[in-house]
């Protein structure tokens, strides 16, 4: 299996083989991250730019470290504080980044499809680090990597995703990925936060957490955003916690040794209780650690595809 894409835009269009190649490559990069010298020369001389149109610390830092551990030069641009304010278009901003000699752009944008526009228009590699309510592919890849690492497989597992399914790009990417890999995915949350037609993605819908948690191998909690209150999609955070918050009692309903996952940042006491977040079943810190290895794999594979294209052109 040879990687051919110059962009990673979403999980939806990846094949099972492509997902497996990324996860396998990430295993090697995880080994690199355990060394005293956590660096390989694979992307020496290459330039990676993080172009973030939305505030982000975790994902940006993870991509920065991933690029640095590949020996690439990396710069992060928080666009809210720069040219967009002055009226520059998305494409012009990206063209400027390209003119700086950039090989790969990691882009996060509040509009769904923004990375796709750049990927079509520009020869640089584009990695989607989250676009609107659409996809967040590297999050889903690191989630799948963590599940595979802890459970040895993904196929056949019962995975329950809890929370604001409607507004979550993490949920969408995870659903695409986990169902492709053969997991049985159930989404659960308040009806106001459940998108119409989500069952078409191959998931089961459930509105009662206790029912969904039966026999679960993985419990994936999404972050509840307080702004949903303002739009009257939730009556109160306390009520959400009462119905959908995972505490030690509810954790017991799931299979023994079920994994607890969260993309971060967590709201302790709302979607997850502290005892659960800090329990032995929580792999939330592993997700963060694995994120670097998975992003190294993505940057490395994309670079290899770009290099192949260059050789062919010669």
């Amino acid at each position: 299996m040879i990687w051919k894409r110059k962009d990673l835009l979403g999980i939806e269009d990846l094949t099972v083989e492509e997902i497996e190649l990324i996860l396998q490559t990430a295993t090697s990069f995880k080994e690199v991250s355990t060394r005293v010298i956590k660096k390989v020369p694979a992307l020496r001389g290459k330039t990676v730019v993080n172009l973030f149109f939305e505030p982000s610390t975790r994902t940006r830092t993870s991509f920065e470290l991933a690029a640095k551990r590949l020996s690439a030069d990396v710069v992060s641009i928080a666009v809210s504080t720069s040219s967009v304010v002055k009226g520059e278009t998305l494409l012009d901003t990206a063209k400027t980044v390209q003119a700086l000699g950039t090989d790969i752009v990691v882009v996060r944008h509040f509009c769904s499809g923004a990375p796709h526009i750049l990927a079509k228009a520009l020869p640089m590699g584009i990695v989607n680090a989250g676009d609107g309510m659409h996809e967040h592919p590297t999050q889903a890849l690191l989630d799948m990597f963590t599940i595979k690492e802890k459970k040895g497989k993904i196929a056949g597992l019962k995975i329950v995703i809890v929370g604001d399914i409607a507004h979550s790009r993490v949920a969408r990417s995870d659903i695409w990925g986990m169902t492709k890999m053969g997991a049985e995915v159930t989404v659960v949350g308040p009806a106001t936060l459940m998108p119409a037609g989500i069952e078409r993605l191959g998931v089961k819908i459930c509105f009662r957490l206790e029912e969904a948690l039966k026999n679960a191998d993985v419990i994936y909690l999404l972050r509840i955003q307080k702004e949903r209150l303002e739009r009257n999609l939730l009556s109160s955070l306390e009520e959400y916690h009462d119905f959908f918050g995972v505490d030690t009692e509810r954790l017991k309903i799931a299979k023994k040794g079920a994994l607890v996952m969260h993309p971060g940042p967590m709201n302790r006491g709302i979607e997850i209780d502290s005892e659960v977040a800090d329990s032995a079943q929580s792999v939330i810190d592993d997700q963060v650690t694995n994120g670097i290895a998975v992003r190294m794999a993505v940057l490395y594979l994309i670079d290899s595809a770009i290099e192949k294209g260059r050789r062919k052109a010669k």
Binding site: M1, Q24, F29, E31, P41, A42
Partner: protein, 182 residues
């Protein structure tokens, strides 16, 4: 597998004899195996390193640490077609600092894999020295690299390929030249 385009260099018995000799040479040259570690270059060299360690155990009664390096991320030709398989993890679970490292590879050709493998090892620590053991040396070096222990010197032309089959991967043991002028 009697492909007429294949010229057999070593059969199963030949490989086994060659490895036995290499193991003896390693022990003899180093007057024992104190501080010696074997590190195979994936894919191929890692299996040969394990076999050499087994032979050294027979000769000296000592268990020599065996590791394996994957050079994928250290290659200077990462995009070329020679990159045939996905990267695999490097396995060095012992201290490299101050050790006498013997790199093990199946075929020594341009020397670029050796250069990359040396870089991987150096990222784990500063060995006392590094030596190189290869099953086949086919010539055509592009870097100042030489092998300290050579199983067999095989003069080749650049359009030929030296292929190694190992039981651990291919269910049989042999070395053959393929391709070249028919």
């Amino acid at each position: 597998m009697s492909d007429p385009a294949q010229k057999l260099i070593l059969d199963e018995l030949g490989i086994n004899r060659t490895l036995t000799r290499l193991a003896h040479e390693i022990v003899e040259r180093n007057k024992g195996v104190e501080d010696i570690v074997l590190i195979g270059i994936k894919i191929g060299g890692d299996h040969l390193a394990k076999r050499l360690a087994a032979k050294i155990r027979e000769i000296e009664g000592v268990e020599v640490p065996v590791g394996a390096v994957d050079i994928t991320f250290y290659r200077d030709d990462a995009s070329s077609k020679s990159l045939r398989s996905a990267a695999q993890p490097t396995e060095i679970t012992f201290e490299v600092e101050g050790k006498k490292v013997i790199l093990v590879d199946d075929v020594l050709y341009t020397g670029r894999s050796t250069r990359a493998a040396i870089d991987v090892v150096m990222d784990f620590g500063r060995p006392k020295w590094i030596q190189l053991a290869v099953l086949v040396d086919r010539g055509h070096r592009e870097l100042p690299v030489h092998a300290d222990y050579v199983g067999k010197n095989v003069p080749t032309s650049a359009d030929e390929k030296v292929e190694v089959w190992l039981k651990e991967i291919d269910n049989e043991d042999k070395v053959a030249i393929t391709g070249g002028q028919k």
